[in-house]
């Protein structure tokens, strides 16, 4: 079943087209990521789902029901906010039980449910504390428990890992992923971190300027970027300009080529090759990043660290299999 449906949805603020003609279909139980730079419309889409914004055009459905005009408190959707938005005057337990309290669930029952939710996010004995006494990572877990205790059909997460340090972020990525699997709830996740989106999501929508540039599995988005923006934003694909595409016999104006698909050696059977000069290189641990200048276009090559790096200025031949070259739309 379709959990969230966007049919040509727009949200304009005066002349600003925050969301401009977005089509989306998120399946039930899916872990869906909306990826894009700030101001790309991904957060506005999330707020449209939560009900904090109303579309200026198009149609939204949540589990088959029309969402336009339905206030946030009547939607079976809950949000984990970027700043967590824990209520500072309530204890952790009361924070988690808040949703049940306003729905009129009895004191004992909501207390039990809140304690279970806190145990689920591994903060079982923190109920009596205040939000101010918790670390960032702990607050994030409380925010998660506070949303999940309401058993939402869709959980919206607005850059939930943005305020955490790297180590904690990686740990939370795994936990979120496994929590989503075990609960089977649809997660819609907003992030500007492509690594996060790639490692967690079942499908990714890449946003730019209020529009979806590409929608697909992490592998598709990573390996076959449809537009130059996606190639640039998701990872670091090389975009070959028209000149080189012509030379290689590609029909579209631009084509993408992943740095790790290129070898610094003479072409084998059926492979394509280009000649250039090494213009820079840097050591990145497992690989050396070598930038090769081919007719003025800078092409990055990820060369295994075990191989010898040619000196800057020396001529070099780069080669790659023809199927690694992905034609792109002109945008």
């Amino acid at each position: 079943m379709t959990a969230v449906l966007f049919d040509n949805v727009s949200r304009h603020f005066g002349a600003v087209r925050a969301v401009d003609g977005v089509n989306l279909e998120i399946a039930e139980g899916e872990f869906f990521a909306m990826l894009g730079p700030s101001g790309s419309g991904k957060t506005t889409c999330l707020r449209l789902m939560a009900g904090f914004e109303q579309p200026t055009g198009g149609h939204i459905e949540i589990f088959g029901e029309t969402a336009e005009g339905v206030p946030p408190y009547r939607r079976s959707v809950n949000t984990v906010f970027q700043d967590y938005a824990l209520f500072p005057h309530l204890s952790i337990l009361d924070n988690v039980a808040y949703g049940l309290m306003v729905k009129g669930v009895g004191r004992e029952e909501r207390r039990k449910a809140a304690e279970d939710a806190l145990a689920m996010v591994k903060l079982p004995s923190y109920g009596s504390r205040r939000p101010g006494q918790l670390s960032g990572g702990q607050r994030q877990r409380v925010a998660l428990a506070r949303a999940l205790v309401n058993k939402p059909k869709v959980l919206l997460l607005d850059e939930p890992l943005g305020a955490l340090d790297l180590k904690l972020r990686e740990q939370m990525q795994e936990e979120l992923k496994s929590l989503q699997k075990s609960l089977g709830i649809t997660f819609v996740f907003v992030t500007h971190d492509q690594g996060e989106a790639l490692s967690m999501a079942d499908r990714i929508a890449v946003f730019n300027d209020g529009r979806i540039q590409q929608l697909g599995s992490p592998e598709e988005v990573y390996k076959q970027p449809k537009t130059r923006f996606v190639a640039d934003f998701v990872g670091s694909s090389n975009v070959l300009p028209a000149k080189l595409c012509q030379k290689l016999g590609v029909r579209s104006t631009y084509a993408s080529l992943r740095p790790e698909a290129i070898a610094l050696s003479a072409p084998g059977e059926g492979a394509l090759s280009l000649n250039g000069t090494v213009s820079a290189h840097s050591f990145l641990g497992a690989v050396n990043r070598v930038v090769v200048d081919v007719d003025g276009a800078r092409i990055a090559v990820a060369s295994p660290a075990s191989l010898v790096v040619p000196t800057v200025g020396s001529p070099v031949t780069i080669s790659f299999a023809a199927h690694e070259l992905h034609p792109m739309e002109d945008a």
């Binding site: 946030p72 408190y73 809950n78 906010f81 700043d83 938005a85 960032g136 949303a147």
Partner: protein, 271 residues
């Protein structure tokens, strides 16, 4: 290097500070002192003798009680009106964006910046033009104009500290507007409202200028005191009442100070 030397202030500065504080507060002590004097016609120093009889005299004078009740009533109602209107206004200005928002914010604060005499004359002529008889309610209205400002200022500062996502989070978790106000907004602005209300009460309680323009035949406590000073009889009764006024206004202001002192943490702003 510089902090050590500068932290120790020179003797001259200490004396000047003490003199300044004494200048402000010794006269108040004198008022207290004259409440106990045996001389009733003039304030001679030192008092010829001390007595507590004026407390009994004041207690038994109906005009004192009438003025005191009127002042308490006016201050209470003006404060109540200010709490409702000031909070609503603060909520609108701090939580939403609309055309003329800054102007409204300025216009609300204006009555406290204007000299009381202007507010008083303006209200008096407005009431006259509208042929609105001067009464208890005209005093309340006059006082409400500046009481609203005090409540508004306190509430707006606190509203600004409530992060907008708190209200959204409450709605997201299923609370409608009324529940959000009751469970999230009110607990977070409660102390600010209490402080604002106490200040408003204290301001209203000792207001003279606006009151003289908006009152009919009634005398609030401060007006009664002004009238009493002209009469030569039982002068220390005025001092007894003055002591009560100081206590009644000082306690709320002290309370407001303590309530707002520890409010530096931003509600919901921490990460």
């Amino acid at each position: 290097m510089r902090s050590d030397r500068l932290n120790r202030s020179p003797l001259g500065l200490k004396i000047a500070a003490a003199a300044g504080l004494a200048f402000m507060h010794v006269p108040i002590l004198l008022i207290f002192l004259y409440a106990f004097t045996t001389e009733e016609k003039s304030y001679q120093f030192p008092p010829p003798g001390l007595t507590t009889q004026w407390f009994a005299v004041a207690w038994n004078r109906p005009d004192v009680w009438a003025a005191l009740t009127l002042s308490v009533k006016v201050a209470s109602i003006a404060t109540a009106v200010a709490l409702v209107l000031g909070t609503l206004c603060a909520a609108a200005v701090s939580q939403t964006r609309f055309f003329g928002r800054e102007t409204i914010s300025l216009l609300v604060i204006l009555p406290i910046a204007l000299p009381g005499i202007i507010t008083g004359i303006a209200l008096r002529s407005a009431f006259s033009i509208a042929e609105f008889p001067f009464s208890f309610w005209t005093i309340v209205l006059g006082h409400a104009t500046f009481c609203i400002v005090v409540v508004y200022n306190n509430a707006v500062a606190r509203f600004r500290r409530i992060s907008g996502s708190l209200i959204e989070a409450s709605m997201d978790l299923g609370a409608d507007g009324f529940q959000t106000f009751r469970y999230i907004i009110l607990p977070n602005i409660g102390t600010a409202l209490l402080a604002g209300g106490m200040l408003a009460f204290a301001l209203s309680f000792d207001e003279v200028i606006v009151t003289t323009f908006t009152a009919g035949q009634q005398s609030t406590l401060p007006i009664w005191m002004l009238e009493e000073l002209i009469r030569p009889r039982q002068r220390p009764v005025t001092n007894v009442v003055a002591m009560i006024v100081v206590l009644v206004t000082f306690l709320p202001i002290l309370g407001a100070y303590y309530l707002t002192r520890d409010g530096d943490q931003i509600a919901g702003g921490g990460k």
